[in-house]
């Protein structure tokens, strides 16, 4: 099913013409109205009219999260505050949060893109959507909520947490769609299983995002909850959830190119990379009013898939996010994403996906410890079987990443559970 047939299947040429028109409007807007951009363009010795085609995009300066922090709270807005109808902020683990403003039209556009995203991943107006993304400053809850209402589905605004109550409502209200972070979906799935209620739920689709998750985690969630687990991408600085979405083909996420221009750059040299090459995703918003961003560095590592998709949509796809460059660990010179370790663990029959990575430095050498919980499915009465499980995990990680790890088996529920984004890594080198 396609929500907006005309725009979602627009021929590439027309889509790119539309992108360029909107890019020009956006550049003129930010140059005139946002002092930060006027300054940045001057520094780069460029004017909006110097951008003569989409190919010139790379001439524009980047915007980073630090830029947003420095203009805290309203410095990036291109509208006076009386035209702003909503303000979100992303949690700042270090320093000030980043603030995002929306005009009435921005909220409407967001709802449209989110509704489009829901339909692309198989949700319909007949569905009952249990929205377990957090409501509040985080964009997940309200973003999914407005999209669900726009679509005409029934939305249960339960927000994150309160797991037992979530499950009661899921059973009693016969929820058919769950929207949550994948790690919270995992916690819900485990708890439903423990309560013996797997046969009592009516879910058919899960729309999971806001953190990277592996293909193997998808399989586990799909098997346990008997759903289609779909990946949604978004980030608050750009808009929130609904920037890109998986279609039924599950071969990458369509990024809505009538509203965003994606690029991939080498995070070290900052040079643009060809479609298909892996690097950092950079997004330019071309429809936003209140806070357009030019070449925003997302820190998310992926690649662009330009080949046409089976579903008929013409918007290019990004591959499932491999990780964030922020989350990337450098262990003895090797780049390691937590999601890669996760995929190794998920390959092992019966292993619970609760893990934590402890990075440390001992005698000037980086060490990586992988802590994995032992539940009844992998537990054996024999020490040697458990040791061979440790050895297998160690070997599989070595085969994939070439690094030696210490694998520690820990008791169930000793690794902290998350109701939002999971904390997978403890880097003691930084403490």
């Amino acid at each position: 099913m396609i929500y907006d047939d005309e725009i979602e299947t627009l021929p590439r040429e027309a889509l790119e013409a539309l992108q360029f028109k909107r890019l020009q409007q956006t550049l003129e807007r930010v140059y005139a109205l946002v002092p930060f951009y006027k300054e940045a363009f001057k520094k780069a010795n460029i004017l909006p009219e110097d951008i003569k085609s989409l190919k010139d995009l790379h001439k524009l300066p980047f915007t980073t999260k630090d830029d947003l922090r420095e203009s805290y709270p309203y410095g990036m807005f291109s509208m006076p505050i009386n035209k702003i109808v909503r303000i979100h902020a992303s949690s700042g683990t270090t320093g000030k949060p980043t603030v995002v403003g929306y005009s009435k039209a921005d909220i409407e556009e967001w709802a449209q893109l989110m509704a489009r995203s829901f339909v692309a991943c198989g949700v319909t107006d007949k569905d009952i959507i249990q929205n377990a993304y957090g409501y509040g400053l985080f964009t997940g809850g309200l973003g999914a909520h407005y999209g669900a209402e726009k679509l005409g589905a029934a939305v249960i605004p339960i927000s994150g947490g309160n797991t037992k109550k979530q499950i009661m409502i899921m059973v009693d209200f016969k929820s058919t769609v769950l929207t949550a972070t994948p790690s919270y979906a995992q916690l819900l799935a485990d708890t439903i299983e423990e309560m013996g209620l797997l046969d009592k739920i009516n879910l058919r689709v899960g729309v999971f995002g806001a953190e990277p998750w592996s293909e193997n985690m998808r399989q586990k969630l799909e098997e346990k909850l008997r759903i289609n687990a779909m990946d949604i991408y978004g980030l608050s600085e750009i808009m929130g959830p609904g920037v890109a979405i998986e279609c039924e083909a599950k071969e990458g996420l369509h990024i809505w190119e009538d509203a965003f221009i994606p690029e991939i750059i080498d995070p070290q040299t900052l040079e643009p990379l060809e479609d298909g090459q892996e690097g950092e995703l950079v997004i330019t918003t071309i429809k936003k009013q209140a806070m357009p961003l030019i070449r925003y560095r997302t820190k998310d590592i992926t690649r662009i898939i330009k080949e046409p998709c089976k579903c008929g949509r013409t918007h290019r796809r990004i591959q499932k996010i491999l990780g964030r460059s922020d989350d990337m660990l450098i262990i003895r010179g090797v780049n390691v994403f937590p999601s890669q370790i996760e995929s190794v663990l998920m390959e092992i029959e019966g292993l619970a996906p609760h893990y934590q990575l402890i990075v440390d430095r001992v005698n000037n050498l980086d060490t990586l410890e992988v802590q994995v919980e032992v539940d009844s499915k992998v537990f054996s009465d024999e020490i040697k079987r458990l040791q061979s499980l440790q050895n297998q995990i160690q070997k599989d990680i070595k085969d994939l990443l070439g690094i030696t790890t210490k694998v520690t088996l820990v008791e169930p529920r000793t690794i902290q559970r998350s109701e939002g984004k999971a904390k997978r890594v403890i880097d003691k080198r930084k403490i």
């Binding site: 009844s376 024999e382 020490i383 520690t408 008791e411 169930p412 000793t414």
Partner: protein
Amino acid sequence: MKRLNQISVFVENKPGRLLDVVEVLGNNNIDIKAISLADSSDFGIVRFICEDPKFAHEILTKNGFTASLTEVLAIAISDRPGSLAKVLKSFKESNINIEYMYGFSAKIKDYAVMIIKVSDLEETIKCCIANNIQILSQSDIKSIV
């Protein structure tokens, strides 16, 4: 019913974890008849025998432990020098491999009770019958104080 259900519990090698297990059992009036702790460098397995293993398993799981039921045999060996060797010899002749073994602290009459986990349960039961080695059932366990 010659087979006995033993509870095995996964514990990390951290101070007080064995105590935690034993306390949970004590709080639920579960009397441990025999217990052993096997460990590797960073984790261990607590194995024990009690009257109602299903109940003990349920209690432990409810309290967040990873536990399983394993079928073992409890054999009575007369408390005289050379008795254990005789039993082990019979096992060897029947090609039975003992994976682990631990003893009851209490005695019944002139017998010492050993818990054994073997490679082949059926074969071991046959061997015991053929060699007059007494196997205790779950109900026999009750009477051991």
